[in-house]
Amino acid sequence: MSKKKKAFLLLLVLVIVVGAGILLFHQDNAEYVDATEKDDVKWAYELLSGALSSSDVMYCDYLEYAKEEDGTGSYTDGDGQTRVLDYRQSTEYTVYAEKAGLYYIQLEYMAAGNTLSDFSADVKINGEQAYYEMKTIALPLFWQDETKTFPKDGYGDESAPQQKRVDEWQTTFLYNNTYSSALPLKFPLKAGENKIQITNVSSDGLGLRNLTIMEPDLGIPSYEAYTQQHSGELVAGIQTINAIEYIGKNSTQAILQYENNPVLTPHDNKYKVLNTLNWTEAGTLVEYQFDAPQTGYYQIAFHYKNNKNEFDAFETIRIDGEIPFEECISYRFAPTGSTWTNEVLSGEDGEAYWFYLTAGTHTLSLRAENEPVSRAWRYARLISEHVSQFALEITKITGSELDKNRTWRMTRYIPEIADYLKAYEILINEIRYSIQDYTPTGINGALLSDFDKAMQFIENMAEYPDEIALYTSDLTGNDNSVLVALSNFTSEILKQDFTLDMIYVYGDEKLPAAKAGLLKTVGNWFGTLFHSFTTNKYAAKDVGDDVLTVWVNRAVTHVDLLQKLVDTDFTPRTGVKVKVSIMPDANKLTLSVAADQTPDVALGLVSYMPFDLASRGAVYDMTQFDDFWEIANRFVAGAFVPYVYNEGVYAIPETLDFNALIYRTDIFESLGLSVPDTWEDVVGILPELQRYGMNFYHNISSGVGYKWFYQTTPLIFQNGGRLYTEDGLRTAIDEPNAVKGLQALGDLFIAYSLDTQVNSFFNSFRYSILPVGIITSADYILFKNGAPELEGQWALSNYPGTVQEDGSINRYYVANGTGGIIFNATNKAEEAWEFLKWWTDHDTQVNYTYTLSSTYGKEFFWLPSNLEALSDAPIDQADKEVIMEQVKWLRDVPRTPGQYLMERSISDIWNTMVLDGTSAQVAADEKVIAINREIKKKMTELNYYDEDGNLLMPYVLHDIDWIQEMMEKGKEGTE
């Protein structure tokens, strides 16, 4: 017994010692590196960027190495005339510069159309672009809250108000849309006449007026000079500005949030009250207004939270639109983790800055900045681009099947190996040096620690440069390599996570506490716990008989927003009251039908559900509404296919999904490949790709052993095949065209060696193992938001098609979004139909799309099925063009009873084809009997056959042609 106790004690002591040790060391392990020689950095930069097949000069390189002088004087062109630019249209300004040199450019702009996404412009000076940032100049829209009394939803929670676009002329200096500089971009002009061409590269309706060039000097003094300009004393009193009270912002991504923390104002632990403002992107500008009671000096403090992983956030502070002194540029806000703190704007020595304000109203603005890290980001990006190309070069020599036993003499083929590695080391050291002061633990900071490993890899390779062929996985490997370290860094470093609660403009006053005391915190816990028993949010419950009940199979955010739109728009317009409830599990619907407690409408159903319910008579046939086919013209015909049962249509599409080809532009360029347009083209580029150990990704290789229709059937449709015979009673999977499609799909894997399983296309794409592949809309969002380091290095293209006999290309793809249904048991069918019409209407959908993104962030992506709404959705114009073209080819699989067996049979056919080498015809023939038997069995259940197998009534299987035909009729009906 005592032995046990002793052992236990010993263990306890050990744990405590180790724990304490870790804590102690953790706080004390800041390390720093020394600066690198400027010349070395220059050498390394020039070596690497010179070696790249296509290398961009970034703005910071340009400033560093081009050494242009500043220009003088100013000149305006434009005469106050408005020029409206649509997408890809351009205009030209002529300006005269007094002398050759760098100038600021100021531009007046305004949204002329109805777009709700930010503009960006491509600027060329005399037909040239001195640096990369000139391709995407930011011309952001400005926004205001429609109301500052935040609307309450049905549960008493506050929700973010509608965002209102400010339609006024904005005069702005030009910045890049990544805001890599805190001060405006400088543009090189030659002496005399200069042509400045501005092209709209975002969305339609950019209005432009005057353009002014001026000497690049804003006259911002240093703090020392600033204090000498004014005299006075610190004023008494404190002005508080709540972060939610902003008067304007330049981004919908500055988002009002609620946090249940008693230190925030306002605070409530029963209902959600919006109390903080959060932003994550550099360039986000938020403006506040406040009154200074008397002339004199003030201090400024912020109650904030910087949740970025052990890294400072940078904000430029402007008062009345001007930066008061240099120290206000990219002011550093230390990381706080998830806690709150007060930051008094002050110098390195801890002395608070004094701001001179005259009595009266002033504005104060914060803008998130990236400049302090932009050089580090730039070098990291340069190395990752170079590493990818370098690894490719090595593979060109060694071939994709590496012979490990051979003695490699790689320096004979690539003499610069040692230099490259040296350059990597220099630049990584420079990256660490330039940002190590922004994190409390120096180079051990969370964002920088990956470089340790990268350095080890590089040192290791530098020791044996001849054998670098054996170490390519350390260069670009998927799990742990130089490239992975750099990619992680570049994708993280530009993000911020800055949340603001209060701003204090004050004199000699003491600031309110930054953190809640223990008592308050515990009190709040209990309060929250208590209220959790009394809330009845989101429950699907009985409501009055005159209320239309809608169940939504989506997240709470969607439910809240929909209810709000209904309350503010639909109900006032039609007088129909609607109760929107969350339905966490769509299977609940089946049970509710069985229990006879259905809602009137259900939304957010995956595309197979309406058919299952419809074939059992639970769902309302929408063709009973006179204007159904007219309304149907809002959507693509293919989206209706799974909702058809006999002559009826039982659901209306809400959202869409698309399949498209995504490819790495940098790799395609360096290998000289063209983007595949058809499957033949895909096969054509495979040898070249595979020679470098790369491959094409087909989405059938993702995930699980069971292959769904969207993965297996597109090629059947593209080859003119079909899944069912005309009467819908037998499968047609063994017909020649279908077999041709199946074989084509199988051949990709059998004859052309695509990977049969891919764990994460996202990562393989990032590390250029699979530089091209097929993605869905969910993947698209992931690439868009999850891989900022690849920005500009990939593009979308249409889903590969199959060339038809007449030479046209058929691009059918199978994918579907979600749909909405009306239940048969409803006594408010007309109202329900009104509701669905309103919901899928252009204005509602556009409003919903934008509000979703501006309330919850742009990761909340909504792809409306309404085509007009889709064309107004906030998607990059180039991508949108691909998507708009692609959704025309949407063709879902027609549903019939016993469908599941069809789906799994095709899945099995693919499996036997690819893994056992059976031919498509044989594999398909084997499945036909079972499928037909299952269809017959189900048809018997649904009373199409009697028990002896006699057909009682014909079953009608309508495919896309019928829908198109009916839609045409619907269109004629309106004309």
Binding site: T590, R616, S907, D908, N911
Partner: protein, 315 residues
Amino acid sequence: MKAQTSELTQGKEKLSRPKKSLFHTEGFKGGVLLLPYGIVFSMFILVPVIIAIGLSFTYYDVINKPSFTGLLNYISLFTQDEVFLKYVLPNTLLYALVVGPGGYALSFLLAWMLAQIQPIPRTIIALAIYTPSMLGQVFIGVIWKTIFSGDQRGIINNLLMNMDIIDQPIQFLLTKDYFMEIMIFVSLWSAMGIGFLAMISGILNINDELYEAAYVDGMKNRFQEIFYITIPSMKPQMLFGAVMAIVNAFNMGWIGVTLSGANPTPEYAGQLITNHIDDYGFIRYEMGYAAAVSVVLLLVVYLFNKVAQKLFSED
């Protein structure tokens, strides 16, 4: 053990002899004490089982009212359901026989081996062996899918390719070739559950004097120790372990679904009877048929339990 029980029963008889009013009878008291369990048991187990048996004689599509079809479900199960006869039944039997008795024997063996070593390492190792059975499906899926992943980055494929044994990654979880074996392996790995713990405690509770006495009586080796002393002394734990192993073996259908990512498993290679029930109940909406299959499952499990009881019961 035996002596104690008989004493207890004698005691009971003695106590219940004096005649009293109904409220004071032993039976009533016992009934009251059993009531909470009884209510919960019948609400959540007995009633659903009865309903399931009832539904198994109907056609029920979840939405419309069930219609009585007699024994049709059972007849089609054994005469027409190709998948059931060709894949599900053999799979289930193979799986249950290997994972049930196999896992059972393995837990006993491990428990016995652990009982031979010092307490502290024993606790640590027992915890390590027990942990997999506590992991959720998702966790098991993540671990083993990474290990058996069918691309070059799957751990096993990567090892084999590095050792130049194969050129192309093997599709462990996509083909029928290895699927059942992997399922069995993973199940055995996570089979050391509560039954295993019971066995350790059973072995550790055996009185050492029994062994000593047996050696005096001429026992020669450890094998005899196991068969003549250890197992007979821990029959209750053995029975408990056996029941747990059987129930476990028939209910582990989710393993195949977790590993392959979908129901049905590739070409029905890992289709067990519980997957078949899910398939019919929730994919094909044939609840009546699914109920019939689950009744068959119930009977099979019951049968196996009877066998286990025959083997290990006290009398």
